[in-house]
């Protein structure tokens, strides 16, 4: 009302006040004609404001938060792999990866999805300045950098996995349009040690083989997400840690592997390869009482630190061309083929080793007794059905034990056929043949075991001495352990404990009995009988030093090549257990096609002895495996911060001085400097040692590419 009064002066009051109707009066009279529309206009603006800010507020708010915020993935730290005594086998190190944000160099850039983006003309000068500054630090031509800076993509990697020293140099330049993301690089401090078991990860940190692949989910953790504000050019403005999803770091796995035993085994394998030049050589060491795999190795060895070809390093998979992607896949496939874990992936006809199981079953079934004499027909026995069983050396009458010692095919076949085929088959199944062992390892084979209704007349006798079925080396060892440990078929396992990143134990794998295959008594009799293989039989080369009694069985199995048994090509193996009274180590050592057609007793048994002696020496000198040191895990003790002074002062290209440093810090510094560390195991002494005693090359010398920095550890 007041407004109305104010606005209609011409109509009432002023006329009386001014009292003089003149031309100028007209202006006052016409004022409401203007004032009213202006107020209506202002009122429309108020209505529009209310409409936008009250009624449409939520729509615009969600639109705003959509364009203002970007979810930044925060990578979790991949869990460690440790051996049974806590020594690191695989660790993840935080490194910085440099990427650029090309829209920052396009002044007219407008964001959008895919084709919707508008790029406009780039600001070449600004990009050139950045490229010129980056090029000398990255040691790549400025042209290459410039091309990346101006690439019409919202995100381009420039260099991944950069050490903190280099990263902080670049950060200090405060360059426009380039930023860092933390990434984790997998490092295997023991180099090729246990490489097939551990496997490796690809550049994006996904496990490709072995434990890294099987337990990828637990190791990887869960990525978090940070909601970060960004500006219209896509630059991140991280003002506070506003997690929409908190990252969960990966779990750390404590393996059953003992790195010292693993080292002893790998050395023996190398020696075996040197001496008899087999196609492959591999060995598994297990604790027969628990099923824990203490060591598992096969040739050829590889270094999981250097898997990915250099050309694929600085880019993410999405930017590869189709050809490159194909090449990378082929590379990985080739790598996988070369990195086959033979003990679990190969299947073969077990040959002589099988006699142990045949005789153990027959003994359990009371079809034969110790000392019983079997006529071995002088080395040639016509079974009928077209099968003639032969022995390498002809024997007449052999006792039960002697059949094992001399590895007589005829003896084994004769004892085997005493059993009912169904019973025979049942025992084979109970020993685990034809089934996966439960190790849960990628590529594991179950072998091949026909059911009795598909057996021909000659199947049972040939199976008794190890042909007509195929098995994996691990199956044989697990079954052998059952014979040795009192008849229990154990489930083999590789992961003892799983800890979260705070050191809390999440899971503990305990020994699991799958079957009671044979009785304690039969097992004891078999142990006793098998001792003679080493003392009197085919494996005299396997006799251990220091009076340690062992028992075992040689195996020489014909290789099937193109569907035919080929003379002169076999698998030579030795499966042995020690100490004999209460076996703690069970081992299978195999050579695939050794030169000159050598037999298990001649080539595999000496290597068994070498490993066995090494383990017994380690046992008496070093820590007993019962000891369980404090494994308080903490990923935080790892020097990850780029402000860590010591790390920043590492000079790139020179061997850093890491003497008297903890192993982890030493590895970190060597990697920062651009080298690859290699921890030398020296038998037992290494087990408790965590401080670097010696290094080679000397500190301060130039790093040679491809040549590892060797570290020798000592006790703290």
């Amino acid at each position: 009302m007041a407004l109305g009064k104010l606005l209609s002066p011409g109509a009432r009051t002023p006329r009386r006040l001014l009292g003089k109707p003149e031309a100028q009066e007209l202006a006052v009279a016409r004022l409401p004609w203007i004032m009213w529309p202006v107020f209506v206009w202002a009122f429309a603006i108020v209505l529009r404001l209310i409409w936008l800010q009250v009624f449409e507020h939520h729509r615009y708010q969600s639109r705003a938060s959509q364009q203002h915020n970007v979810e930044v993935p925060i990578p979790p730290i991949r869990g460690e792999l440790r051996d049974r005594r806590g020594a690191s086998l695989a660790i993840s190190m935080r490194l910085e990866s440099l990427f650029c944000n090309p829209p920052a160099f396009y002044p007219d850039y407008k964001s959008g999805r895919g084709q919707e983006r508008v790029w406009g003309e780039p600001n070449r000068e600004a990009a050139q300045v950045v490229a010129n500054k980056l090029a000398p630090i990255l040691e790549i031509p400025a042209k290459t950098v410039l091309e990346k800076l101006l690439r019409k993509k919202p995100f381009v990697w420039i260099e991944r996995h950069m050490g903190p020293a280099k990263a902080s140099t670049i950060k200090a330049l405060k360059l426009e349009g380039v930023e860092f993301l933390p990434e984790f690089k997998r490092q295997y401090p023991r180099g090729s040690l246990a490489c097939q078991i551990l496997g490796f990860t690809n550049i994006d940190g996904i496990g490709q083989l072995g434990i890294e692949r099987t337990f990828n989910e637990q190791l990887a953790g869960k990525p978090g997400e940070l909601v970060a504000p960004r500006d219209a050019k896509g630059r991140l403005l991280i003002l506070q840690e506003n997690y929409s999803k908190i990252p969960v770091n990966g779990s750390t796995l404590q393996l059953t592997i003992d790195s010292t035993i693993q080292h002893i085994v790998e050395e023996a394998l190398e020696e075996g390869v040197r001496l008899s030049r087999p196609k492959n050589a591999y060995a598994v060491v297990m604790d027969p009482n628990t099923g824990e795999i203490l060591a598992m190795a096969g040739t050829p060895f590889f270094d999981p630190n250097h898997i990915i070809p250099k050309k694929f390093m600085n880019r993410s998979e999405s930017e590869w061309s189709a050809g490159e992607r194909e090449e990378y896949r082929a590379e990985i496939e080739r790598g996988k083929e070369a990195r086959k874990v033979h003990p679990v992936e190969d299947s073969y006809e077990p040959g002589s080793t099988m006699k142990v199981f045949t005789l153990a079953m027959a003994l359990e079934e009371r079809k034969v007794h110790l000392g019983e004499k079997v006529n071995c027909e002088g080395g040639r026995w016509n079974f009928g059905g077209g099968l003639t069983v032969t022995d390498t050396h002809g024997h007449g009458l052999l006792t039960f034990e002697e059949v094992l010692w001399q590895s007589s095919n005829i003896g084994a076949a004769k004892i085997g056929v005493r059993m009912d085929p169904a019973t025979h088959y049942q025992y084979l199944r109970k020993f685990g043949f034809g089934d996966l062992t439960g190790l849960n390892f990628p590529g594991e084979t179950a072998g091949r075991l026909l059911s009795p209704d598909r057996w021909s007349g000659t199947t049972q006798p040939t199976m008794s001495y190890g042909y007509g079925l195929s098995v994996s080396p691990l199956q044989v060892l697990v079954a052998g352990c059952a014979v040795a440990n009192g008849g229990k078929l154990m489930q083999p396992y590789l992961v003892q404990k799983i800890f979260n990143d705070q050191g809390v134990m999440l899971q503990e794998n305990r020994p699991k009995v799958r079957n009671q295959v044979i009785s304690e008594e039969t097992s004891a009799m078999m142990r006793e009988a098998l001792k003679g293989v080493i003392t009197n039989g085919t494996a005299k080369n396997a006799k251990l030093d220091g009076g340690v009694e062992a028992f075992g069985k040689t195996g020489t199995a014909w290789k099937v090549i193109n569907g035919k048994y080929v003379r002169g090509h076999h698998y030579a193996s030795f499966m042995g257990f020690f100490p004999a009274d209460k076996p703690q180590y069970g081992m299978l050592f195999m050579l695939d096609d050794p030169a000159g057609g050598a037999y298990g007793g001649t080539v595999a048994a000496p290597l068994f002895k070498k490993i066995g002696d090494g383990i017994m020496r380690y046992r008496t000198l070093g820590s007993d495996s019962e000891q369980n040191p404090d494994l308080k895990l903490s990923l935080r003790d790892w020097p990850v911060s780029e402000t860590d002074e010591a790390v920043v002062h590492v000079e790139v290209g020179k061997v850093p001085d890491v003497r008297n440093l903890a192993l982890k810090s030493a590895i970190q510094r060597i990697v920062m400097a651009g080298g690859s560390p290699r921890v030398e195991g020296t038998g037992a002494a290494q087990s408790r040692a965590f401080v670097v005693a010696e290094q080679s090359p000397e500190p301060g010398t130039a790093l040679e590419p491809g040549k590892p920095v060797r570290l020798v550890l000592r006790g703290p």
Partner: protein, 370 residues
């Protein structure tokens, strides 16, 4: 007729205008700090320049508030001189390199001056003077038309130059406010009945013949149609205002100014205010402009002299109509014309011109009528 007694200046008007200026300083800093930093300048770079402009403007305002405009009635020489200077200035802009494809600035003594901004108050003075000088003519049809055509002739030279810059928004504003002054000055109504449709048709033809202007108009009608192209600015402005809600996201906390919203500290500063101060803040700014309108209206109504009355109303409308136009653009009620928000938008020429208009308005406020 009451005796000619000088009053003190209208302090409320001054207060409202200064409030608007303070609001402007606050939000120029808020909207430009990051942009300035990105340009490797101090965060306060834009604020400091605006403060220098404000200082010059306030000095000019104080000086002009002491001027007695009644003298102009009999001695229009200063108007003629200023008119010639304006034309020279408007010609001079073409000698300088274009900024954002437009010749709007003249650089003297390291300071950028926008002659078109300074011409705004002068256009009001010229129109008012002309309307009062020839007030006898408005009664007769045969006299009115030549006089108005002459006025058009006087104004068409500078307006043509401004249009050539190109600066359609300022041209439109000056034409609009001048027409209001002509209307208030007593021009016969039938003239508007003819002039408004004719000017409308000319304007429409002008828009349609230029794809750039046509795009601006169509994008205003449907900003979502081309969210990244022509409709980008309009849409981002609406997102800013809409995101503000009732109380806003908080001073300095707005995100649209982070290069989502073009011209955040100049033509679209009202959107930043809308985002950061919400409905409450946006309406308060509008109310301040309406308060300026009401004070200006009071001054105009009270003053006895017809010339001063027209001037007072002209200056008031110049400030308020410009503000409403700017807000309408920000709220997508009108096509994007590129005119700043008086007292608030960054730009020292605009601020100086607004303060000069205010100074003259204040000088008129000292005159009494009753």
């Amino acid at each position: 007729m009451s005796p000619d007694v000088r009053r003190p200046i209208d302090r409320l008007l001054l207060f409202f205008a200064l409030m608007l200026m303070v609001v402007g300083m606050v939000w120029i800093y808020s909207a430009s700090a990051i942009k300035a930093s990105q340009n490797n300048a101090a965060a306060t770079a834009f604020l400091v320049r605006q403060m220098i402009g404000g200082f010059i403007g306030l000095s000019l305002m104080l000086a002009l508030s002491q001027v007695d405009l009644t003298d102009l009635r009999e001695h229009p020489r200063p108007l003629q001189i200023l008119y010639c200077v304006s034309i020279l200035g408007l010609l001079a802009v073409f000698a300088f390199p274009p900024v954002n494809h437009a010749h709007r600035w003249v650089r003297i003594f390291g300071q950028s001056i926008q002659p078109s901004e300074l011409f705004k108050p002068l256009a009001v003075l010229i129109a008012s003077w002309w309307m009062v000088k020839h007030r006898e003519a408005w009664g007769q049809r045969q006299d009115a038309i030549p006089k108005l055509v002459t006025l058009m002739g006087i104004l068409i030279i500078p307006l043509g130059l401004i249009l050539k810059e190109p600066d359609f928004g300022t041209t439109f504003l000056i034409v609009f406010v001048t027409m209001l002054v002509v209307f208030l000055g007593g021009a016969p109504r039938w003239i508007f009945a003819i002039a408004v449709p004719v000017l409308g048709a000319v304007g429409a033809a002008f828009v349609v013949t230029s794809p750039y202007r046509l795009a601006r108009v169509t994008s205003f009608l449907n900003p979502e149609a081309d969210p990244l192209g022509k409709g980008h600015q309009t849409l981002q402005s609406l997102v800013a205002v809409g995101n503000g809600g009732l109380l806003g996201v908080g001073l300095g906390a707005g995100r649209q100014k982070l290069f989502f919203l073009p011209e955040a500290h100049t033509d679209f500063i009202y959107a930043v205010i809308g985002e950061e101060a919400g409905l409450v803040g946006s309406v308060l700014v509008l109310v301040l402009f309406l308060a300026v309108l009401i004070r200006g209206y009071r001054i105009a109504r009270r003053v006895r002299d017809a010339f001063l009355r027209l001037c007072a109303m002209g200056f008031t409308l110049l400030l308020v109509v410009q503000a409403l136009m700017n807000m309408s653009v920000v709220l997508s009620l009108a096509p994007n014309k590129g005119i700043p928000l008086p007292f608030i938008s960054y730009g020292s020429s605009s601020l100086i011109a607004s303060l000069a208009s205010l100074g003259l308005l204040l000088s008129i406020s000292k005159e009494t009528g009753e």
